[in-house]
C-alpha cells in the first residue's frame, strides 16, 4: 500500500535518512523502533511531505507522492498523529475534531463530516461528555485520543502515529494501544506506528523495522524481532 524506496532526507546539510526502504501492506500494523535521533519522526515527516526526501521514491497506492504537498497527501488518505499530540488547546474538543476534517470539509458534505463525529465518539466514548470542553483541559490520555480522533476525521486509509504512548501512564497506554488494534480490525485502517515503547508496540504489530542512525538494521515479522538478541538487549530491556 505504501512503498518507500531508497529515500534520503536532510535537515539542512545534515543527512538524516540514509537510503531507507520500507513498505506497509494494506491492513497491516507496522512498527518502527529506534533510539532518539535515529530518524523515526523524520521518516514520518518525509512521508507527509513536511520534509520531502531529496532522493528516492514514496509510492502510495501506486501513486508517486514523493513531492506532493502535505494537503494533497492527506487528501489521498494518509494522516499523521504527531509526536506530543499538538492539539489546539484553546479550542473545544469538537472544534479540534472539525479541524481534522479541514482537507475534505465543504458546505455540501457537512452532514457527512458531522456523522464522522459519531464514529470518533464511538471509538473514544471518553470524549463524548467533553465535546464542548476546551482541549487544553483534557488529561494526557484524553488529549492523545483527541489527536487520534482528529487524524481520523480526514478518513485516512493509513494512519501514522508518532509516539502515542509518550508521557502517559501504562494503563492509559494499554487503552490507546487497544484502540489502535480496534482501528485496524474494525475500520480496516492500516497503521504505521513509531514507538519507544518497543515491546508493547511490537505486540500489536505484524512486522517491524529497527532504525539506527537513519538506516534500517533489522526488519521482519514481529516474532523475529522479539526473538533477536540484539533487539532484546537494545530495545526491549532484556
Amino acid at each position: 500500500m505504501l512503498r518507500i524506496q531508497n529515500i534520503r532526507s536532510f535537515y539542512g546539510n545534515l543527512l538524516v535518512l540514509k537510503n531507507l526502504s520500507l513498505h506497509i501492506n494494506e491492513g497491516e500494523i507496522v512498527t518502527l523502533i529506534g533510539a532518539n535521533g535515529s530518524g523515526k519522526s523524520t521518516l514520518l515527516k518525509s512521508i507527509m511531505g513536511l520534509l520531502p526526501p531529496r532522493q528516492g521514491l514514496i509510492v502510495f497506492q501506486d501513486k508517486d507522492i514523493t513531492h506532493l504537498r502535505t494537503e494533497k497527501i492527506v487528501r489521498l488518505g494518509i494522516a499523521l498523529v504527531p509526536e506530543g499530540r499538538h492539539i489546539f488547546a484553546p479550542l473545544s474538543v469538537q472544534d479540534n475534531l472539525l479541524l481534522g476534517s479541514y482537507s475534505r470539509y465543504s458546505f455540501r458534505n457537512k452532514s457527512e463530516v458531522m456523522a464522522d463525529f459519531d464514529r470518533i465518539f464511538d471509538l473514544f466514548p471518553h470524549l463524548v461528555k467533553k465535546r464542548k470542553q476546551l482541549a487544553g483541559t483534557l488529561s494526557g490520555g484524553e488529549q492523545q485520543m483527541l489527536a487520534i480522533g482528529r487524524a481520523l476525521m480526514s478518513r485516512p486509509r493509513i494512519l501514522l502515529l508518532d509516539e502515542p504512548s509518550m508521557g502517559l501512564a501504562p494503563i492509559i497506554v494499554e487503552d490507546i494501544f487497544a484502540k489502535i488494534t480496534k482501528l485496524r480490525s474494525e475500520e480496516k485502517t492500516t497503521i504505521l506506528l513509531v514507538e519507544q515503547n518497543a515491546e508493547m508496540a511490537l505486540d500489536i504489530s505484524d512486522r517491524g523495522y529497527v532504525l539506527e542512525t537513519g538506516k534500517i538494521v533489522f526488519q521482519g515479522p514481529r516474532e523475529d524481532l522479539l526473538e533477536n538478541a540484539e533487539i532484546k538487549r537494545a530495545y526491549l530491556g532484556k
Binding site: R3, Q5, N6, K18, N19, L20, S21, L22, H23, V210, E212, K215, I216, V217, F218, Q219, G220, E223, D224, E227, N228, A229, E230
Partner: protein, 434 residues
C-alpha cells in the same frame, strides 16, 4: 502444496521491494558487525547505504570458500557467539571444511524453508519421512528433520545406516518419503534389487534428493527402482544448508526462496554477471541470516536462471537443475569439459548405467581421457562384439560432440569404487605424474 502462500506466491514487484529492504539491512549489519566485510567495503570504497538496487550489489567483491577458511572458525559471524545456538560445518566436498553458525531465528527460518521444500514435493503430515542424510556437522540431516517435524510428518532419522538396514526400516516402518543424496538412493535401490524384496511390501511414494548434482537419467532409474516420484532440492551449508531452492511438482527447475536469498549468475572465469537464461556459476547473498550473512558467495555450482512464471503458482524465479560444480571442470586438449557433458552423452547410450568415472592421465606428454562406465547387468561380458559396439558408440559420440578422442573402458555393474555411495567423478592424475 504451497507451504507459505504469502511469500512463495508474492508478486514480483513486492518481492523486489522486500529483497532491497532486507539486503540494505543485511549490508548495514555486516558493515557494523563483521570485521572482514567492514575492511572489504572500506577497501573498495563501498558505502552500504549507497546500494540502491540488486544490480548495485555488483560493486561488492565476491565472498569465496577461501574467505571462509581465512576467517576460520568464527570470523564471519555477525553476532557474538552467545547468540549462536548451533554450529555446523560444511560438507567439505572440496578442500577443508568451514564453519557456519545459526541464531534462534536462523533455525526457525531454516525449518520453515525446509517445510516449503517438503510441501512442494507433496509431503504432508500424514507421511512417514525417512531421513538418510548424515546427522552431524553436515547440515543435511537436521535441515530435513526440522522441516518434516514442522509439517507434522512422522520422522525416522535413519541417518547413514547401511542400505540394507534402510530398506528394512523402510518396509517395517512403512516409510512413504525418503530424503537422502541421489547416490545413496541409488545404493539403496541396488540393494533392494539384490534383496529381492517385493515392491508391494513398500509404500514409498516420494523421494527428495540433494547435496550433489544428478542427471535426469539417474532420476528415472531411481524412480523406477524405488517406485517413487523423485524431486531435486538444492542447498549449501555456507548459505543455510538444504533449503535454498527446490522443485515443485512441475519439475521444471528449482524455485529459489527469494525472500531469503538473492541469486546472481556469473561467468566463472571473468566474474561478470550474466543475463537470465545464460549458464554460469550461482552466486548467493543471504538477506535474512543473522549469525552468518553471506554477501555474494560463490557457490561453485553451475546453473541458469529461469524467469518465466511456473504454472504451480509460485512466482519465484527458478534455477535450472544443477549439472556439476565449476571446480569439477577439466580441460583436455584445450577443450573445457564438465562431467555432466560426458554424462549426458552416456545417458543416450544403451546398456550403460549412470555410474561412471573420468580419469585423466598424461602419457608421453599427451593428455588422455579415459571414461570408465558401468554397464547393465544383463549384458554378458563374453558378448565381445556387443561390448565393442557400445565402446565405439561412446567414442564416436564424444568425438562428434567435442572433437576429442577418448578411451572408453566398460566395467561390470558396481565395480567403480563408491565412498558413502558417491563415486568420485573426475580423477586427474596429470599433476601427480610429471
Amino acid at each position: 502444496m504451497i507451504w507459505n502462500i504469502e511469500y512463495e506466491t508474492m508478486a514480483r514487484e513486492d518481492i523486489r521491494q522486500l529483497q532491497i529492504e532486507r539486503l540494505q539491512s543485511t549490508l548495514n549489519r555486516v558493515y557494523k558487525n563483521v570485521p572482514y566485510y567492514k575492511a572489504l567495503f572500506d577497501e573498495y570504497h563501498i558505502i552500504p547505504e549507497e546500494i540502491n538496487s540488486i544490480a548495485d550489489l555488483r560493486q561488492i567483491p565476491f565472498t569465496t570458500k577461501a574467505t571462509l577458511r581465512e576467517n576460520y572458525p568464527y570470523g564471519m559471524f555477525a553476532v557474538p557467539l552467545r547468540e549462536v545456538v548451533r554450529i555446523h560445518s560444511s560438507s567439505g566436498t572440496t578442500g577443508k571444511p568451514t564453519v557456519v553458525g545459526y541464531t534462534r531465528n536462523d533455525l526457525k527460518h531454516w525449518s520453515e524453508l525446509m517445510a516449503r521444500v517438503l510441501a512442494a514435493a507433496g509431503v504432508t503430515k500424514d507421511d512417514t519421512v525417512q531421513i538418510a542424510f548424515d546427522y552431524g556437522l553436515f547440515t543435511g540431516g537436521f535441515g530435513f528433520h526440522y522441516g518434516a517435524e514442522l509439517i507434522g510428518a512422522s520422522v525416522v532419522p535413519t541417518s547413514l545406516a547401511a542400505p540394507e538396514k534402510q530398506i528394512h526400516i523402510m518396509r517395517d516402518y512403512r516409510t512413504t518419503v525418503l530424503a537422502c543424496s541421489p547416490s545413496f538412493a541409488l545404493a539403496i535401490a541396488e540393494k533392494l534389487k539384490e534383496l529381492k524384496i517385493n515392491r508391494n511390501e513398500l509404500v514409498m511414494r516420494i523421494g527428495i534428493f540433494g547435496s550433489e548434482p544428478w542427471s535426469e537419467k539417474l532420476r528415472s532409474s531411481i524412480q523406477n527402482d524405488l517406485f517413487i516420484d523423485a524431486y531435486d532440492t538444492y542447498g549449501l551449508s555456507e548459505i543455510m544448508g538444504p533449503g535454498v531452492a527446490s522443485e515443485c511438482d512441475r519439475k521444471n527447475g528449482l524455485h529459489l526462496f527469494e525472500d531469503h536469498y538473492i541469486a546472481e549468475i556469473i561467468d566463472p572465469d571473468t566474474g561478470k554477471v550474466l543475463p537470465p537464461g545464460e549458464m554460469g556459476e550461482l552466486v548467493l547473498t543471504t538477506i535474512t541470516k543473522e549469525a552468518m550473512p553471506m554477501i555474494r558467495y560463490r557457490t561453485g555450482d553451475l546453473t541458469k536462471m529461469i524467469e518465466e512464471s511456473c504454472p504451480c503458482g509460485r512466482k519465484s524465479l527458478r534455477l535450472a537443475r544443477f549439472t556439476t560444480r565449476s571446480d569439477d571442470m577439466f580441460i583436455i586438449h584445450g577443450v573445457k569439459l564438465f562431467p555432466s557433458q560426458i554424462e549426458s552423452i552416456l545417458a543416450t547410450v544403451e546398456h550403460t548405467e549412470p555410474h561412471y568415472q573420468l580419469i585423466i592421465e598424461r602419457e608421453g606428454g599427451m593428455d588422455e581421457l579415459e571414461i570408465q562406465v558401468e554397464v547393465s547387468e544383463n549384458i554378458v561380458f563374453d558378448e565381445v562384439k556387443k561390448l565393442m559396439k557400445i565402446q565405439d558408440e561412446i567414442k564416436q559420440r564424444i568425438f562428434e560432440e567435442y572433437g576429442i578422442h577418448v578411451k572408453v573402458k566398460l566395467v561390470e555393474s558396481k565395480r567403480l569404487e563408491r565412498t558413502q555411495g558417491k563415486i568420485k567423478r573426475v580423477i586427474d592424475r596429470r599433476n601427480q605424474q610429471q
